[in-house]
Symmetry: C2
Subunit: 215 residues, 2 copies
């Protein structure tokens, strides 16, 4: 599949590399066409890079791996017309580090960043997933033992099925891909970040994840 990964941070590069290794045609999008990190990554992985719009325009599926605080701006730069009808996988979290650690989790009043993205780009088919774990675990769930899970939610069932297929190819077994229903579920997973951050501090590692055993 032709996949645009927006965002050149650790999350974007990790997802991009995994998608390349799975045989996808990946283009990494950033603010400028000559982003040094994106250029280096693309050379190393025989992949492409370009602006957010370059990346989104030719892609069948778009991954938002930008920081949540700048996601709307990045997606505006990508262009609403380049998102129209496409699956938009939102893995972002809006963390405000301006007041120091731990960062404050920013959520729009009564909603989630994912819903805000969906409202702003009604033609996109937004699916929220993977935002509740560190990037190494996203693409290699076997790094953490146990029956830990990845949450998925979105308003478009076909889009969710496409994303579930990608997660499966990352190594997530079906029974550990937890469908939380429509995109309002993103409120719940985005608000998990304060606990995630606190546990990272307690454990001294980011390589953990949540499991939800039931009776």
């Amino acid at each position: 599949m032709k996949i645009a990964v927006l965002g050149t941070g650790e999350v974007g590069r990790r997802l991009g590399s995994k998608l390349v290794s799975l045989g996808h045609e990946v283009i990494l999008g950033s603010r400028s066409a000559d982003h040094a990190g994106a250029t280096a990554w693309a050379a190393e992985h025989q992949a492409a890079h370009g602006t957010f719009a370059d990346a989104a325009s030719g892609a069948e599926l778009v991954v938002n791996a930008t920081g949540g605080l700048v996601s709307l701006a990045a997606l505006q730069a990508a262009g609403a017309e380049n998102l129209e009808g496409k699956v938009l996988v939102d893995v972002s979290n809006a963390l405000d580090f301006s007041q120091g650690m731990p960062p404050k989790v920013v959520t729009p009043e009564g909603g989630s960043m994912a819903e805000q993205i969906q409202r702003t780009f009604p033609g996109a088919r937004v699916v929220k997933t993977l935002n509740t774990m560190t990037n190494t675990v996203m693409v290699d769930p076997g790094r953490v033992p146990g029956e830990h899970v990845v949450f998925v939610c979105g308003d478009d069932d076909e889009a969710k099925a496409v994303v579930t297929g990608l997660l499966r190819s990352f190594g997530w077994p079906d029974e550990r891909i937890l469908d939380l229903g429509d995109l309002t579920g993103a409120r719940a997973t985005e608000l998990l970040l304060p606990l995630w951050l606190r546990l990272m501090g307690t454990f001294g590692t980011a390589e953990f994840n949540f499991a939800v055993p039931k009776a």
Copy 2:
């Protein structure tokens, strides 16, 4: 130990019954001395009941099992002088059902209900715990399989040790009692409620809990 359980809802009664069964001297506190539910519960369990102040005044340890939205009022009624120097176990969540389901989780700006209680009653030794699971699992963790955990946080280490001892007596093994540090950790556990509520809807049962396996 002489323990006051404030709140006559399902959570208060469940905790009260467990504490009685463990040999503690329990008094269930409610708004009025003649609360029908509390009277019936006390008769059934050979325990006592009374007003919030009656309960707190003679107790060595106080459990706040009132709904988070009315906890401050309940504790005011209990009386600051009756909380002075005592361990105050806060198991509350502030859920606003006024707009329908799912309820909105209310947290004071930039903080948690537990911190608000601690600020309002500086003489109390507030420990937040047990608010991330349904009441049957609180007192009988074996109902859910797997290495699921209970979070504990608070500013007073001695108070946390007392509460950890109680949790142990409920059946929680040491390695599954996760100390999140000081009381600001309550921000993280209170914000877990939206995910808890969503999962309850997805699973169709409240008898589940969170585990946090790490690499």
